[in-house]
Symmetry: C2
Subunit: 448 residues, 2 copies
């Protein structure tokens, strides 16, 4: 066929996930259950995904009321909606052409919203300045990676990437034609990011690709670690020395619950370190309305803030974003609601605060069950316990053509009706096996 | 700087639009007006954009009510919303994990919605079968072009592209690293697409790139032509002969108002032609909630239907779409509302029908003013009259470093407070000049 040859090799390299096998089987089981087939369980429990709403966590009323009023402004004429909801909706609509969420946005997005975002970031970072011109709203946080990869250079762009890692990032990097340079997080040290390991990974890449960027996830996913200030400083020093662009995936910044953990942004630590670091190390920091206390994955809204980038590069990135213009107006609005939530005294504050805290303090420590070992969970939305599989299970998995942990997950699904995802999906040290499941849901069945 | 070199050449090649100069000046004028500066006009009129809502055209109540109820389901408990609105919202939410628009969608999208879309397409095409597996929802219709370009082949991918052409398409093609092969529409023949011209363009590309696709816009933008069945047959024959992939941008399919014009889809004509055409010529047909009678540009929802593609290619495209997953849940819902609007007998039908017809029958014929000549407008949302500029104006434009038609637009903006866009933005025959403006708005000042 004529076109097959024309489809880029990058796209071809995207493979089906192991998870897909599990998901397909889960769908079948669901059908069987609804047809009355008898199983040891009545309902399937899906703990794979990171979206709280699919786990029956309620969305924030304030957020949904404002968005509904924006979609259907007639709602504002009734007094059923709190005053601050109506005011916010009015303000947001006033930022759109024709006062409608159905208008195209100007390429720059909505300047007033970006301005307010920059103020909110400045507050988060204890006053470190934030230039609105460096903030770009995108359809989800993952999207922005696109601009950072050059697929025309003689040597492939290399990106240092953690193992284990959020799987979508790996797919994005690969499909953009860049090379993944894996560095291993140290499970024994609570999944810590160690500079010696970065060093080793960088050395190993020599000749094969051109390493230009270092991707870090903090707080972590799938492993729920939170980096300390000191750890961040070390990473920044390393990036500075090796002239690496820092891609800081900070989408879980509002999900920290370790008793001694605190989220500090890469940008803030960079500023605190002072020159030469603070004015040379290039950072892109990602955030998303999918995560945090909002959990609005379906709206597709994220942003990237660029630090220390050459204004010429920023201009190119701007042009790229203009060209695609795929971020919906409601995602821009949601960003405003995430960065500027109701304040004490606002009519919506009490309810908002109650729900938000419930989500925030959902502390969770995985108990040690026989055959499991789990690092403390400090942040993020997932836990990644190690599973010690007996040799017989590993042998059986091989016979069925599955990864051992996929095999374990399949058993868990068949016998207990619980869907979790296998560690092989995210990368793991050879000979170790893990499962990942979501902790931001109502059911903590495994530990209880 | 380290990263500048790493930004892909494709991204660098995206240039600022001429239009940006005009938009900047328009912003200034807006400010001046609000500061009380005296001008020959009190208000600025922006006729550049294609989004009806920014032109104060009202969104469809049915659409907005359903979406609001989906965002904030508490609205359904009141009986203020019509029954069919509540039923549709309930049905749509039932298709999401956790019944929330805040959930991630499965990579396949929502199968029941895609199924309903396929039925609607089948009805549109007089019964020509439509396979839901070939339909992909994307964040706006423009996005889907991405998958069709191979930037690793030794010779650049070439795409035959009309002149004049929707400017975003040109930018997308270029930034993907593909080559634009311009073919001229014949202005004297009502902007007709002529096969001899396709032939000439294809010949001219020989050696420079590898022409694999032919992009057509029907109904047209910026030129408001509607292709006849015969014209489509000729294009299909040409594509078949030259083994070209047909990219049929059909987003204006619901905007046809020429007395003797009718929209017929490429897919339908292909089926009617029978073998060998009907089972070999590869077509991608695009549609979007931004256009048609909905005009919901801000939601970012579009789809592509693939015809006669090798299932292996379809699989790659599917993987690519999975990877990015940037289409918001509400865009999926909007798609369902566009493809399955209220029917006679539904409570929302009368109001819906009234507004929809008002939009549809907004017939518009541009009068001949001195210095203007305009082809009849049969469809789409824009008109592209030719402007005959005196040599002195052309000279003056050169002195100011502007394209002559940009210069004309700037004058129109300064002196009359009217913002339209210059033909040079879309491409035009050398020595000819045009302006483009939107006709789907309340104000038809130029002709009245
Ligand atoms: C590390 C990480 N980054 C980003 C995202 C969110 O992506 P998006 O903003 O595109 O929904 C996730 C979602 O699970 C994630 O785990
Ligand atoms: C020819 C053409 N295709 C597509 C689009 C719509 O793009 P989208 O669906 O991304 O909003 C437009 C918008 O003006 C257009 O004119």
């Amino acid at each position: 066929m004529s076109v097959l040859q024309e489809i880029s090799q990058n796209v071809k390299s995207i493979k089906q996930l192991d998870y897909a096998v599990l998901a397909r089987r889960a769908n079948q089981i669901q059908k069987e259950l609804s047809q009355g087939v008898r199983k040891p369980y009545k309902e399937l429990i899906d703990l794979c995904w990171g979206d709280p709403h699919s786990m029956d966590v309620k969305p924030l009323t304030f957020v949904r009321q404002v968005l509904a009023a924006c979609v259907y402004p007639e709602l504002m004429s009734s007094h059923k909606l709190p005053l601050d909801v109506r005011q916010r909706a009015q303000w947001l609509l006033g930022r759109c052409d024709g006062g409608s969420v159905g208008s195209y946005l100007a390429p720059t997005g909505i300047p007033e919203i970006v301005q307010r975002m920059s103020e909110s970031i400045r507050r988060r970072d204890g006053g470190v300045p934030c230039n609105p011109d460096n903030i770009f709203i995108s359809p989800g946080s993952q999207w922005s990676l696109t601009v950072l990869v050059n697929n025309e250079a003689p040597l492939r762009t290399g990106i240092l990437t953690p193992v284990p890692c959020h799987v979508t990032t790996i797919m994005s990097i690969k499909s953009l034609g860049a090379a993944v340079i894996p560095y291993f997080l140290s499970e024994e040290h609570g999944w810590a990011l160690q500079v010696e390991e970065l060093q080793r990974a960088l050395e190993s890449a020599k000749g094969g690709c051109n390493p230009v960027a270092l991707y870090v996830i903090n707080p972590g996913n799938p492993a729920g670690y939170v980096q300390s200030r000191k750890s961040i400083q070390e990473v920044i020093q390393f990036a500075s020395e090796k002239r690496l662009f820092l891609l800081a995936d900070e989408v879980y910044q509002d999900c920290v619950y370790g008793k001694n953990s605190e989220f500090v942004s890469y940008k803030r630590v960079l500023a605190e370190m002072g020159p030469p670091f603070s004015d040379t190390v290039e950072v892109a920091s990602f955030h998303s309305v999918s995560k945090g206390f909002m959990g609005e994955c379906g709206l597709r809204g994220g942003y990237v803030e660029l630090v220390n980038l050459d204004p010429n590069v920023v201009k190119y990135i701007f042009n790229l974003i203009c060209k695609d213009s795929t971020t919906p107006v409601l995602a821009h609005f949601a960003m405003d609601l995430m960065m500027n939530p109701p304040r004490p005294g606002d009519p919506s504050y009490p309810l908002y605060n109650q729900v938000r805290n419930a989500a925030k303090h959902q502390e969770h420590v995985v108990n040690s069950l026989p055959g499991f070992s789990c690092q403390p969970v400090e942040g993020g939305a997932f836990v990644l316990p190690r599973v010690f599989l007996p040799p017989r299970a590993i042998q059986k998995a091989k016979e069925e053509g599955m990864q051992p942990d996929t095999f374990y997950c399949m058993r868990l699904l068949e016998e207990m009706g619980v869907l979790v995802s296998p560690g092989c999906e995210y990368g793991q040290k050879e000979g170790t096996y893990h499962i990942r499941y979501n902790i931001k849901n109502k059911l903590h069945f495994i530990t209880t």
